[in-house]
Structure formats: C-alpha cells, structure tokens
C-alpha cells in the first residue's frame, strides 16, 4: 500500500474492470463449470444429465488408465526437473566462470527459450523418424533395440529428452542471473579459505543459489505437468498404450476425443488441486525469500 493514494471514487473500479471481467468470464465461470460438471453424468447424447456425487471421481481416479497417467506424470516431471536443472546449473556455473566468449556462450545457451514446445516436439519427432531420423538409426546402431512407437520406455525417453532440451535454457537464464547476484566479495573470501573449487561450490555457491533452485523446481514441475502438452501431442500422443500420457494430456483426450465431459471435468478438478498445492508451496517459499 502506498502512503499517498487517491481518495475514494469509482475510478479505480474502471481501471480494474477489464481484468476482472475477463477473469470472471474466462477463468472463474469455466472453472465453476468444470467443478459442477464433475458431479454430473450425461447420457450418450448429451440430452439429459444426472447428479452422481463423486462417482466421476471414483470412476476416473481409480481407473487403471488414470493411475497409469498419474504414475507417468510423476516419473516424467521428476526426471525432466532434475535433468534440466542439473544440466542448466552445470552450464550456468561454467558460463559464469569463463571470461573469453562469455556472451557468445550465454546467447547460444539461452536462445532456445524462444522455441515453442510443439515445435521442439515436431523437430524431435522428425529426428527420431524411422525413415530419416539419424537419432533413431543411432540408437539402434549402438545396440538398443530402439522403437519408440512400440516400446513404452523408448517412447518415454524421446518425450523426456525433448522436454529437457526445451527447458534447459530457462533454467540456465535464472541460474546465471542468480550466480551473477552473488557478491564478488563472497567468492573472494571463499577463495582464500578453500582451495578446492568443487568444495567451494557445494558449501558456498550452491546454498546461496538455494532460493533460485527452489523457485525453479516449482517452475519446472509446472512446466512438466502442463506445458509439455505440446511436446507429447506432436510426438507420441500418449502412445504406446497410454505409456506417455500425462494427466493434462488425458484431460484433453477424454474431454475432446472421448467426449467424456464428466470424467474429464473430474480430472480437471484434481489438477486444480494439484496446482493449488504447487502455488501454496511457491508462495510460502517467496515469503521466506523476503526474509532471506
């Protein structure tokens, strides 16, 4: 709050109105609809519907397909988060050390931020295309019996590889700016006390980066949950046999392809709760950071 403000008047309502109107029409109303429909069961023609309490929830959540998607989403987000954070941290630390060519490296490592996930997905898909894809040939040449159209692990590998590739640049930007925010004096003092650069990194630099890392973890989990939709939709489409179906992809599939509105809505509501948990964690952390 500002100390000095304008007096009471209807003017502020005019200023917030556009934002609020859009939110009510396109956010709150649809979300309420999703919650409402998650309790309804429509007949096959969508003519009548019946209030069924939590049946949609129990039907979807205890179905093997949903549990499979849930399991894959957890493994997938964990791997994507750790791999992309790890690679980005290594690159950011090195890019921060280097003197020659620092800005060239920085540019080359961050520019992929601008590439859309589905575009990355299609590119990866073509590289793994059995007809022309050299990566497909390579994987088979080095002895894997690689076939991402049939083998669930190979399909998972393709989706994870592309998702990590797409996310490294964002993490790199944040890590690098975090590293540059560490005062020189801290590094110099550490340099006097400790000779080993590895130990300096783990005892001084890494703890100082902890807020950035934690923040990025939330961002990356959110990315793996939601934004990878574009990658999955342009590569495996959840195949083979739902092995690479994430929760979001399943909401889309059941709602639009399967026209199962009630079940898809119930899944949406579960996702809302997951987002709520993620957001609460993120904000508690931000409060902590203020005291940091």
């Amino acid at each position: 709050m500002k100390r000095v403000q304008f007096e009471h008047s209807p003017i502020p309502y005019l200023f917030v109105a556009p934002q609020i109107i859009i939110i009510v029409i396109f956010f709150l109303w649809p979300a309420a609809q999703a919650v409402y429909q998650s309790f309804l069961l429509e007949d096959a023609f969508g003519l009548s519907s019946q209030f069924v309490w939590f049946r949609n929830y129990s039907d979807t959540i205890f179905s093997s397909a949903w549990l499979q998607a849930f399991g894959f989403t957890i493994i997938f987000s964990t791997l994507v988060t750790f791999l992309s954070l790890g690679i980005a941290l290594l690159l950011a630390v090195k890019a921060n050390e280097v003197i020659q060519g620092a800005s060239t490296y920085k540019t080359l490592l961050m520019w992929a931020y601008a590439i859309a996930p589905p575009v990355a997905g299609l590119m990866g898909n073509l590289m793994f295309n059995p007809l022309i894809g050299d990566l497909y040939g390579f994987m088979n040449a080095v002895g894997f019996d690689f076939d991402h159209k049939l083998d669930p692990y190979d399909a998972g590998f393709v989706v994870i590889l592309i998702s990590v590739w797409k996310q490294v640049s964002v993490n790199f930007i944040f890590f690098l700016s975090g590293l540059q925010g560490i005062p020189k004096s801290v590094n110099e003092a550490a340099m006097m006390d400790c000779n080993s650069s590895t130990r300096r990194f783990w005892t001084i630099t890494f703890p100082l980066l902890a807020p950035t890392t934690f923040f990025l973890m939330v961002i990356n989990i959110t990315y793996a949950f939601f934004e990878t939709f574009g990658i999955i939709d342009t590569t495996t489409q959840g195949a083979p046999g739902g092995a690479t179906t994430t929760l979001v992809f399943k909401v889309f599939q059941d709602g639009f392809r399967g026209a199962d509105i009630g079940g898809s809505s119930a899944q949406s509501v579960v996702l809302m709760l997951l987002v709520l948990v993620l957001t609460v964690i993120q904000f508690r952390f931000i409060e902590k950071k203020v005291h940091y």
């Binding site: 403000q5 490592l109 601008a114 040939g137």
Partner: protein, 281 residues
C-alpha cells in the same frame, strides 16, 4: 590456458552444440530435396533447394496446407503474439495502478480474484472455456483467441511491484499541480515504466506466439491457423503417408515458426533476460 579452463570451454561448447545442433539440422535438412532426405536421412550441410522449398511453403497455395500459405499463418501468429503482449500489458498495468494507487473497498477481494488466475491454468478448464467462447460466438475469431489469454496475475503482480517502488513524492507533487488520476498515470507512471513495459512486451510476444493448446481447440478453419498450429497439421499429414513424404516442408515450417520469436529474443536479449528474471519473482 590451464586445464580447468579448457574443460570449462569443452563443457560450454558441448552445451551450445546440444542446444543449437537440432535447429541447425532442421534448417539444413529443409534446404534439400525430399528424395535426398529420404535416401540419405538428416542433413548437416545446407543443400540447394532453399528457395524452392521456402517459396513453396510461404507463397504457393497448397504448398503446406490445402489452401493457406505459411505467410497467412505467419500473419496470424504475429496478430496473436502482438495482440497478446499489448493486451496483457495494458490490462495488467491498469489493474495494478488501481490496486496500488487507490483506496477502495473491494481492493483486497479483487486482488485475490486476480491472484486466483494462477490457480487456474487453461489446461484445467479447457472444455468449459471452449464452451464459453463457443456460446459467445467467438470461435475462429482473433478476439476469441486473444482475450481469454490476456488476463493473468503475473503481469499485474509485476507492475504492482514496480509501482510500489515509485517514490510517493511523485504523486504528492503531481497532485499539487492538479493532476487527475488518469493524467498521473499517462503522463508520469507510463513514461517511468518504459523499460519494464518493453521487457514484458518481449516476453509476452514470445509466450503469445508459442501458444498451442488454446489456438488448437478454438481454431477450426485453416485460414485462422497460426504457424505453431500448422506444425501440428503438417505432422498429421506426414503420418498419413501418401506419396513422397515432404519432410523438407515440415522442417521449413518449424524453422519459420521458430525464427520470429528467436530473433526478438536475440535482438532484445538484455531486456528479455531482465523481464524474465524480474517478472517471475
């Protein structure tokens, strides 16, 4: 050069190759004839079909889609990217201004409503959102495409944070001079926020350009496809088979969909990094 700096450079070079090579290969392959690609696989050296492929994709009807050319899709992508960025900046600046500079009864509840958008990403309300837009008759329109995307909390939070750091004395002085609330906003606050606005515009242009799920479900007519959606269509065509798979066109389309946001990020690199790091705090 000591051994450790050598290792540092090696790591950075492999990182740079990892991030860059796929896109380079996509470009190089797009400049070859379909027969060459089918026979020899991906290419790393550009071939001689650059003009042929890109001309066909960009300007010839039926080159990529049934009717529309990549130029038309490029136009749609630009409208989405720019409309999204400009709309988001205007709407969130106005809301942040009201919340920071005015004392009004509903300020706190309204702030929480804005905050709630963080909890409701499009993915969790896809089907009802689609219905709302359909009921309003906005399917396949630019309005229907852009408006539902531009309300979000991040922009408002960002400007709120920035407005709070503006010294109170400015408003005191402006009020002594008889400035109205609108006058203060337009003549003082907006010029002060110029760099912030630029940074947010750049980020949001990229985010808007790269939108996928929303345009995917609400555009049904080819002439409304953005480049990113065109990607999806050409992927399906490739999978259906037919005569000779037109891999070079698929690659050309990925390059075209990548180029504008990449150029924006590269040209405005410093603003972009600043905006990204600041806005996500």
């Amino acid at each position: 050069m000591t051994r450790s700096t050598l290792i540092t450079h090696l790591i950075l070079i492999s990182g740079a190759i990892f991030m860059t090579l796929p896109v380079w290969v996509a470009f190089a392959t797009s400049t070859h004839a379909p027969e060459t690609i089918l026979r020899e696989g991906l290419q790393i050296i550009p071939g001689g079909h650059f003009f042929e492929t890109y001309n066909e994709v960009l300007f010839v009807e039926g080159g990529v889609m049934k009717k529309v050319t990549a130029t038309a899709m490029l136009k749609n992508s630009l409208i989405l990217g720019i409309g999204f960025a400009v709309g988001k900046v205007i709407i969130s600046m106005l809301a942040a201004y009201a919340i920071v500079y005015f004392r009004f009864r509903l300020a706190v509840p309204l702030f929480w409503i804005i905050f709630m958008t963080l909890l409701l990403p499009l993915e969790v309300r896809i089907i009802p959102s689609y219905k709302v837009v359909a009921d309003l008759g906005l399917l396949d329109t630019h309005t229907g495409l852009i408006i539902p995307l531009i309300a979000s909390a991040t922009g408002t939070f960002f400007f709120r944070q920035f407005f709070r750091s503006v010294p109170d004395e400015l408003l005191e002085a402006a009020r002594l001079d008889g400035a109205t609330s609108w006058g203060f906003f337009i003549d003082i606050l907006v010029p002060l926020s110029k760099t912030m606005i630029a940074a947010i515009l750049i980020i949001m242009f990229v985010v808007g350009w790269n939108q996928y799920l929303w345009p995917l479900i609400m555009t049904t007519k080819e002439e409304n496809y953005t480049l990113v959606i065109g990607i999806k269509q050409i992927y399906q065509v490739l999978n259906e088979g037919g005569e000779l798979p037109q891999f070079q066109k698929a690659f050309a389309l990925t390059i075209l969909a990548t180029l504008p946001p990449v150029l924006v990020v590269l040209i405005f690199q410093n603003w972009f990094v600043k905006g990204l790091v600041e806005s996500e705090k």
